[in-house]
């Protein structure tokens, strides 16, 4: 019996590790952040009780926030290490990098045109414009919540370097960016990655590091064609992960998705009980 090799390697172990770390830290920050934000409601207090009440929730939120910022710093160092400095800055561009390029602008308009039936489906290379957007949105979000989060981490120390009223601004900016990040992940990211008809019910590429070859030919045809033209396709074909591992990825992934939906739905339901101003 020949082994069925129909998967294309898409993400390296380190890519998957970054994503896994981000999931765990982001979800912990989401739960503790929402518990804190909704503390005046019974639902918020219930969530906070899971972490030892108000103080415990805030302490965990702060520590996990610091770990996330440390991870972000490590990620930047990793990128600096990965850049081909001998060919800089040209090495930043090309089909393998996540840097936005002119082709992504064209990709966006072609994709929009395809959605509304004006043209055929665009032929993406390794990264489509929305995958790059998702990646850089984490940067933008982390910089905003990171800077404001650090300001709020020790407000007394912060006020040694700037007026204390800057904390009023920091808290609101932190709050709105966090709501934007959670709202985007729990609705748009989940739908695009897992609930589109071509990905439904679960896209495990970011967990097992591979994607179905036929799916790759459909979603990233230029990437597959380029690998083939460069003679690298055969090396990039890998067997599917073992079934128990696939089941584990599915269960883990859906636990996170359900947790996100739980937070989203109850946050909306309880929003009317929240005093913002």
């Amino acid at each position: 019996m020949t082994e069925q090799r129909n998967r294309l390697k898409r993400f390296s172990a380190i890519h998957r590790l970054w994503h896994l770390g981000l999931i765990l830290l982001f979800m912990t920050l989401s739960v503790t952040g929402i518990a804190w934000m909704y503390f005046e409601t019974p639902w918020g207090r219930g969530l906070a009780n899971l972490f030892g009440g108000y103080s415990g929730t805030l302490e965990i939120h702060r520590i996990v926030g610091l770990v996330l910022l440390a991870g972000f710093t490590l990620h930047i160092l990793y990128l600096v290490h990965r850049i081909d400095w001998s060919n800089f800055p040209r090495s930043l561009f090309g089909p393998e990098t996540l840097v936005f390029q002119w082709i992504d602008v064209k990709g966006f308009f072609n994709h929009l045109g395809w959605i509304f039936g004006f043209n055929k489906q665009p032929r993406f290379d390794r990264w489509s414009w929305w995958e790059k957007f998702d990646y850089w949105a984490v940067w933008w979000g982390l910089i905003i919540v990171g800077v404001t989060g650090l300001m709020l981490y020790n407000p007394v120390l912060t006020s040694d370097y700037m007026p204390g009223w800057m904390l009023n601004v920091a808290l609101w900016v932190h709050r709105i960016e966090a709501v934007l990040a959670m709202g985007h992940i729990f609705t748009i990211h989940f739908t695009v990655e897992h609930w589109r008809p071509s990905s439904f019910p679960f896209n495990a590429a970011m967990f097992d590091g591979t994607m179905d070859l036929q799916e790759a030919k459909h979603e990233h045809p230029n990437w597959v064609a380029r690998l083939e033209a460069e003679g690298r396709l055969a090396d990039a074909i890998v067997p599917p992960p073992p079934v128990p591992l696939r089941i584990f990825y599915f269960l883990f992934g859906y636990s996170i998705i359900l947790l996100g939906l739980f937070l989203l739905v109850f946050a909306i339901i309880n929003a009317t009980l929240l005093t913002l101003f």
Partner: protein, 215 residues
């Protein structure tokens, strides 16, 4: 000649001594940061000390909170003096409902009296008030926030509604920052939610037809 020598000596002594005197003199900002009830802090009449805001009025090119609309009662020993229907039996929320809807009141359950003290409630700019900005950090904030400074005490506990038009003049940086973030967040959702929905429908339609749809 003798008088001339005396004058030269006197000037010499003054020249040597004056910088030392200058070093001992605190600036109003330094005095404001002591947190102690000192003569210069508490003597009525030195108005400029009491109207100053730690961290600088307005601050950051006038984008910070302003203090232009300080009510007269904020300088009274009893802020409720002359309020016709005031009674010590009334709950603060009856007239100050908005002031309890902030992080201190809602999240931490801090009661008004914990910062504003008991009757008679002094105006926050009254020169003996513990909430006067010159000592607020030491007598009120530091009860919970160890090491609180005058700058820290400029945090607006009762902040204005950041999206209300009034905030544009009372706290411009808060107003503009929050509106920028709201426009960003709403813009992202207004764009991506319909985009994702139409995308889903398009894929569903393509799937029903079967086959690929590439150029």
């Amino acid at each position: 000649m003798f008088i001339g020598q005396k004058i030269v000596c006197l000037l010499g002594v003054l020249l040597v001594a004056l910088p030392a005197v200058g070093q001992d003199m605190n600036t109003p900002e330094e005095m404001a940061g002591t947190g102690y009830f000192r003569d210069q802090d508490t003597l009525p009449g030195a108005f400029r000390f009491y109207s100053q805001l730690p961290g600088g009025e307005g601050g950051l090119w006038g984008l910070g909170p302003d203090r232009q609309k300080i009510s007269r009662s904020s300088f009274k020993m009893d802020a409720h003096e002359g309020v016709d229907d005031f009674s010590p039996e009334l709950r603060c929320q009856k007239c100050h409902g908005l002031q309890i809807k902030d992080l201190h009141g809602l999240r931490m359950g801090i009661a008004c009296v914990q910062c504003h003290r008991n009757q008679p409630v002094a105006g926050i700019y009254h020169y003996y008030s513990s909430l006067n900005p010159i000592r607020r950090h030491a007598y009120v904030c530091a009860k919970c926030h160890e090491g609180a400074t005058p700058s820290f005490a400029s945090y607006m506990v009762h902040e204005p509604n950041p999206i209300a038009p009034e905030a544009r003049t009372t706290f411009p940086l808060l107003y503009y920052s929050i509106w920028f973030m709201l426009i960003l967040a709403v813009g992202v959702f207004l764009f991506f939610l319909p985009y994702t929905a139409f995308w889903w429908l398009r894929e569903f339609a393509a799937k029903l037809k079967g086959g690929q749809d590439h150029d």
